[in-house]
């Protein structure tokens, strides 16, 4: 011990000078993980900034203008916003937008049900059924919309035909013209088209739950519902919230289907905000107004997803703590 103490200073110096490489390597090691972080982020960030954020900021700028497709833009301040909020159809549009977002709940219900069933061990031919579940999402939404127009045609379609012949309805329902039905029909068709998106994500999450958790739950006598609450739900909550958020956003942002089914009518009854955006941008060629509606759409979507977003952030934090 004594000798060690005595040697100590010289010893330290000796080694330091003998190993210059160790000191020189400092920046590399200190930053190596940092380097990885930025390198990994770079493509995503570059992509989002260039392709989404620049147009977005330009859009904010445009919303303060009268901005024709071809020609000189003209600064008009908040006039677009005043026009939009003052328009007769504004509240109709807001109402139907909120209603349309509910199709997410339907999608979730279908997807969760299907994923849970297909995660049961006793089901045979699983992979085939999973493939079948995917079908609605494996076709372009425009095509799915057209097919439903065909099936739902009030005078010629198969749905009305069977409903009538089974005595469920006594007169054809004019799905696309009836102001109430038109709202529900765009919602139902969207649900049918997009639920497999959630299904795939939920199934992947379900499959990652270790069997031991279920065994444990069973040992403690949990019934299926409690098993779902105690084991399944916590494990798929993150995936579920992410999928719900994405679907709300996409249901509201994607326009092809409702536009094709009803063109936003009758009147403004099915003119969800995205249809309004499209109308202003490409039918009216008024980009200032289109972006005004677009920004409102972003705001509305954000408000709708905010609760899920908070749940999601909490989930992630919990996961990190574990």
């Amino acid at each position: 011990m004594a000798r060690q103490e005595a040697l100590h200073p010289a010893h330290t110096l000796d080694i330091s000078s003998a190993l210059p490489a160790a000191a020189a390597s400092r920046p590399r090691t200190a930053g190596s993980e940092r380097w990885l972080i930025w390198l990994f982020l770079l493509p995503t960030v570059l992509f989002l900034v260039l392709l989404l954020w620049l147009p977005f900021l330009q859009g904010v700028w445009m919303s303060f203008h009268k901005w024709p497709f071809i020609g000189e833009p003209q600064w008009i301040g908040l006039q677009n916003y005043r026009d939009l909020f003052g328009a007769a159809y504004f509240w109709t549009t807001m109402r139907v937008t909120l209603l349309y977002s509910l199709s997410t709940a339907l999608q979730l219900a279908l997807a969760l049900g299907a994923a849970l069933v297909l995660n049961q061990s006793f089901i045979r031919l699983k992979s085939v059924w999973r493939g079948v579940m995917l079908m609605p999402y494996a076709m372009p939404p425009v095509v799915v919309g057209a097919i439903w127009m065909y099936l739902l045609d009030p005078d010629l379609g198969m749905v009305t035909h069977y409903l009538l012949s089974w005595g469920i309805i006594s007169k054809p329902i004019y799905w696309f013209s009836d102001p109430v039905w038109a709202k529900w029909i765009i919602m139902l068709v969207a649900s049918w088209t997009f639920w497999p998106f959630m299904f795939i994500i939920l199934l992947a999450a379900l499959q990652a739950i270790p069997e031991s958790y279920y065994e444990l739950a069973e040992v403690y006598g949990a019934n299926p519902w409690r098993r779902f609450r105690a084991v399944t739900l916590p494990h798929i909550r993150g995936a579920m919230l992410a999928a719900v958020i994405i679907r709300i956003a996409w249901n509201l942002a994607k326009i092809e289907q409702p536009f094709q089914l009803t063109g936003g009518g009758p009147g403004y009854e099915t003119s969800v905000l995205s249809i309004l955006t499209y109308r202003f941008a490409y039918l009216s060629g008024d980009f200032g107004m289109a972006f005004t509606v677009g920004l409102l759409l972003i705001l509305v979507t954000f408000v709708l997803i905010a609760p899920f977003l908070r749940g999601f952030q909490k989930q992630i934090k919990q996961a990190r703590r574990r």
Binding site: S127, G131, V132, P136, A138, Q207, Y282
Partner: protein, 278 residues
């Protein structure tokens, strides 16, 4: 395969198969009906009956011989695969960092990505088209791959981040102690662990490319790589009148490959392992 293998009671089986049947019917009735419609002659299109009185291949012949629809199916395949691969290269590293690393400004950056998800895509086509023509990506397959990422990357990062964050802690550190660089730890350990979700996401990304109409139509002409969804629209839906039989044929042709691909890709799922927990 992590799956609950408890002895199932009869009630559970009945409920399970009952549920499966309901969901299958919801999917299969419309799909089955249009599949059979694809074999109806034009006069029978609006006859409400399942089996055609006279089976007809006219629409098939038209779609394949004249429209060369199979060529566009091939284009869609390339478009979808490219979109999936590119998404993988961009989103997986990003999501990994968001899910498992700490750095300054992380939350802010993440919210920026969330916002990208909310953007009304339909307004992007103008700046995109102008930019794509300018940088020579117009009418090219890479141009389409890149454009599709607008849809894919935000959601891919979301879902992957949740998945990465919930993987067991310390795995990369462990790998690094045992001889990996930070990158190799990601590559050798985290990436294989995320395989189920990556497969799912690649598949969803593939479908984005496969199904997209907005960009596929805006960013190509007949001289470029048009995809099946554009051709369906141009050939069967884009006129004021719909060519129902042609539409049904093309729908079938476009709908089946992804389903088959998915069934095959599930080989990946079957190799799933208990990832979380010990």
């Amino acid at each position: 395969m992590a799956m609950y293998t408890q002895r199932s009671t009869l009630t559970q089986k009945v409920l399970g198969y009952g549920g499966l049947a309901v969901v299958l019917l919801i999917v299969l009735i419309p799909y089955g009906y249009i599949a059979l419609t694809a074999f109806k002659p034009a006069e029978e299109i609006f006859d409400v009956r399942w089996l055609p009185r006279a089976w007809s291949l006219d629409a098939w012949r038209y779609a394949i011989e004249f429209e060369q629809f199979h060529v566009y199916i091939y284009n869609s395949m390339i478009a979808g695969l490219g979109a999936a691969v590119l998404a993988l290269c961009v989103a997986v590293p990003g999501a990994y960092v968001f899910g498992r690393k700490q750095f300054r400004g992380k939350d802010v950056m993440f919210y920026i990505i969330v916002m990208a998800l909310l953007f009304p895509f339909v307004l992007l086509v103008v700046p995109f088209t102008i930019l794509w023509v300018k940088i020579g990506l117009y009418d090219t397959m890479p141009g389409l791959w890149l454009a599709y990422q607008v849809f894919i990357i935000p959601f891919a990062i979301w879902i992957l981040r949740a998945y990465f964050a919930e993987l067991p802690p310390f795995l990369e550190e462990c790998a690094m102690v045992y001889g990996c660089t930070a990158f190799k730890a990601f590559w050798r350990v985290m990436l294989p662990l995320a395989k189920p979700i990556i497969t799912s996401l690649m598949f969803l990304a593939f479908l984005v490319g496969w199904n997209d109409f907005l960009f596929s139509n805006m960013l190509t002409t007949g001289e470029g790589p048009r995809t099946a969804s554009v051709i369906i629209y141009v050939s069967a839906v884009g006129g004021e009148r719909v060519e129902w039989d042609v539409l049904m044929v093309m729908t079938l042709m476009a709908g089946i490959p992804p389903v088959l691909l998915y069934i095959v890709a599930q080989g990946q799922f079957l190799k799933t392992f208990a990832v979380r927990g010990h």
